[in-house]
């Protein structure tokens, strides 16, 4: 009888405390008890390929040691992530911590789905690289923490290049083009695999030209694709795409360009450093032939513009484990593990002091020279809608590649582009 009573009181107490957490949006709903957060599990969404198994294991161990709570990593795919994330954030039990693309962060900050991380910023974020932290700030508030950044490089097949008699990697755009031409003439390989909708590379080219994808018209944003600078970027893209047999209406993920490259008869492709891993997984023999170089720009002293892709870590505003989530971020983003991630994946860490981890990493050394001139898509909440399929920028690219002039193509997608930018939020 007595035992039953104790259980009942225990249950009642639990209910009350759970209810207290639910009703409390703040940061103190789940303060650690005497034995930490024992028994709790924190759910963390990370994107496919972004964090190596080794890193997850190490962070998990450190987290468990410090908090006594467990952490569960769930791997997500980029395709369709916005729809999935929106739904998850609206539900009772959202993922507590999740990775979110830097260009998508402002839109989600605006929805109120992300928790304010001002405390985290003041405790560990004093020396976050400012340019990398820009996407996490909306309306002056810190809604996410910068995690890692990366830009594309040329991944090439050394054997194919040697067969074509090329000794050195190119330093300018024209040399790059001439080399690819030479591969086409002297070998049976496809010089470059460049599908028509590798739009991140195209965004990089526009950044190189100093072009903007949107402009302000009164108080709203509209398409700026008809800018001659955007057209110039597209012409460059088209020139290189003509050397590829890849479909003009597909992006780099359908089929996975690294898997096409893995077959061994492709000279090069433009991708993220970790895509080399995908190629090696598809064909082990290619490993020794893979090399990397910076995407060459118009002149030798300035590499091509690149899209500075990156991810932030955010905490769901609806999560009932705010304090625990903050503990996790403090560990995951600590110098030790942030440095480990940079080292393992060859990505740019969120602090300049940690960049020493990249020394000797072939990918990072190829990527780093371009990063300084890198940029992103416009960091405005309206932008997220543009990236939803069918992305009008991709439509624009395919239209030009299929023979329309850039001006005609810009006109063709303008209404769709503007409609998305103006979409009621």
């Amino acid at each position: 009888m007595k035992r039953k009573l104790i259980t009942a009181i225990g249950v009642a107490a639990m209910l009350v405390s759970v209810a207290a957490c639910g009703g409390d949006d703040g940061d103190s709903g789940d303060k650690a008890g005497a034995d930490g957060y024992a028994g709790q599990t924190l759910t963390v969404w990370v994107m496919d390929g972004s964090s190596p198994d080794q890193w997850q294991k190490d962070v998990q161990a450190a987290f468990e040691k410090k908090t006594k709570a467990k952490v569960k990593f769930e791997i997500q795919q980029w395709n369709g992530i916005q729809q999935k994330l929106t739904t998850a954030l609206s539900e009772e039990n959202p993922p507590d911590v999740f990775e979110i693309g830097n260009t998508q962060t402002p839109a989600y900050a605006k929805t109120g789905g992300l928790a304010d991380l001002a405390d985290l910023k003041s405790s560990i974020g004093a020396d976050w690289t400012e340019s990398l932290n820009k996407s996490s700030i909306y309306d002056g508030k810190q809604y996410a923490a910068p995690w890692y950044f990366a830009n594309r490089v040329v991944i090439y097949n050394k054997k194919v290049w040697a067969d074509a008699g090329i000794k050195d990697t190119p330093k300018t755009r024209d040399e790059f083009y001439a080399d690819l031409k030479q591969i086409g003439e002297k070998t049976k390989a496809e010089p470059i695999y460049l599908p028509g909708q590798n739009w991140y590379h195209f965004v990089g080219l526009t950044i190189g030209e100093g072009a903007e994808l949107v402009k302000k018209d009164g108080d709203k944003y509209v398409s700026n694709l008809d800018d001659p600078k955007v057209a110039a970027a597209m012409e460059t893209y088209k020139k290189f795409q003509a050397l590829s047999k890849a479909p003009k209406d597909k992006d780099e993920a359908t089929p996975q360009q690294a898997e096409v490259f893995a077959k061994g008869n492709v000279g090069a492709f433009i991708g993220m450093g970790w895509e080399a891993g995908t190629a090696i997984a598809a064909n082990k023999k290619i490993e020794s032939d893979i090399g990397y170089f910076t995407i060459p720009g118009a002149t030798a002293d300035k590499p091509e513009g690149v899209f500075l892709g990156g991810s932030n870590l955010a905490v769901a505003a609806g999560s009932k484990k705010q304090a625990l989530a903050n503990e996790f971020l403090k560990i995951a983003l600590s110098d030790k593990y942030e440095g480990e991630l940079a080292k393992l994946n060859g990505v740019i860490p969120n602090k300049e002091s940690l960049q020493t981890n990249l020394t000797g990493n072939a990918v990072a050394e190829a990527a780093a020279p371009a990063a300084a001139g890198g940029g992103t898509t416009p960091l405005i909440p309206e932008w997220a809608a543009v990236e939803n399929a069918p992305n009008p920028v991709k439509t624009y690219m395919t239209a030009v590649l299929n023979g329309k002039t850039p001006a005609e193509a810009a006109k063709q997608v303008e209404s769709e582009f503007n409609k998305r930018l103006a979409q009621q939020q």
């Binding site: 729809q83 605006k110 047999k245 479909p247 209406d249 939803n388």
Partner: protein, 326 residues
């Protein structure tokens, strides 16, 4: 199923009506018996209400709201009256997609019915062994899950490694070696149509074959004695028997093809350039894809209304037939 050997006379039919007894004569036992059909119908009705009625009601409610990422995450309900409908109905996109959907459905239904009927008649004429072989083939095509079938078609028609392009190339049509089937509106619709017709033929064929087995052989003998040729006996004997089946299957095919979301969406996501979006795909892309959920719901409601309008003719025939039968 009863077999009619003559056309029903046009005058009133001599049928005994079951409920000719006066109301006062009913006994309690038969009253309980009268309840039985309703009890038996109950599970089906409950399932329908739960699985169809409730989502439909929800959809209707959503269609009068401004519901986007923000509202969904924050759980705010923002009623905006008929704003979604107004936007959909006054925009040219909606009407363009509607026209495209109707044309798409018409082409596919005609092709399916024509080819399906031919295969059905073929089944009736084949010897036993060939018939079983063909039936097995048809049933397998019919039983294949839609997503699996669509994936196979994607592979068949893949640009670089697809077997269709390979065959065309080997046959001497070299310009097709690297042809991208998803690059234009017509070629995408071509692939989708081949897929849908292939998936739908078995149902029509087997249905019509079943119908032909109800035709008594003597009728053909009689027709032959009267000097009817093959065509004549087809139009005067076979066709009248098949007519109700043709109506029913056409009706079902219209519904299935009009809402062929999976095939169209999986093959090319409504692309290129949103040119192969049919109404259900359009609703999905506007609603879920663009995270403009209220708008998507409104388009879905309009889609149901349009489908009702298209099938109204058949519904009338059915209702009339049932009246006649009473």
């Amino acid at each position: 199923m009863t077999v009619q050997t003559e056309r029903p006379p046009s005058g009133p039919v001599d049928v005994t009506k079951p409920d000719q007894r006066g109301p006062g004569e009913q006994r309690p036992a038969s009253r309980a018996g009268a309840l039985a059909p309703y009890l038996l119908l109950l599970p089906a009705c409950a399932a329908t209400v739960l699985l169809l009625g409730w989502p439909l009601l929800k959809d209707l409610l959503l269609s009068f709201q401004n519901l986007n990422m923000g509202q969904l995450i924050q759980h705010v309900t923002e009623w905006n009256g008929i704003e979604n409908y107004k936007q959909a109905l006054t925009g040219e996109d909606f009407w363009r997609v509607t026209g495209r959907s109707i044309l798409f459905t018409a082409v596919n239904v005609v092709l399916t019915m024509l080819l399906g009927a031919l295969v059905g008649l073929l089944l009736a004429r084949l010897g036993k062994r060939m018939r079983v072989t063909l039936m097995v083939g048809l049933v397998l095509a019919w039983a294949m899950p839609v997503v699996a079938a669509t994936t196979v078609y994607q592979w068949l028609f893949a640009q670089r490694f697809g077997v269709v392009n390979w065959v065309l190339d080997k046959l001497g049509w070299h310009s097709m070696a690297d042809y991208s089937w998803t690059s234009s509106q017509l070629s995408t619709f071509f692939v989708v149509t081949v897929l849908i017709v292939w998936q739908s033929i078995p149902f029509v064929a087997i249905n019509l074959y079943a119908a032909t087995t109800t035709i008594p052989g003597e009728l053909y003998e009689a027709a032959a004695l009267d000097g009817a040729g093959a065509w004549k006996s087809f139009t005067t004997v076979t066709l009248p028997f098949l007519r109700p089946f043709l109506y029913a299957t056409t009706f079902l095919e219209v519904i299935w093809i009009f809402k062929a979301f999976v095939q169209v969406f999986t093959i090319n996501g409504g692309g290129p350039d949103r040119l192969t979006e049919i109404l259900p795909v359009y609703a999905y892309i506007e609603g879920v894809g663009n995270q403009h959920y209220g708008m998507g719901a409104a388009i879905a409601v309009l889609t149901i209304l349009i489908l009702l309008a298209i099938t109204a003719y058949y519904l009338r025939i059915v209702l009339k037939q049932e009246e006649d039968e009473l």
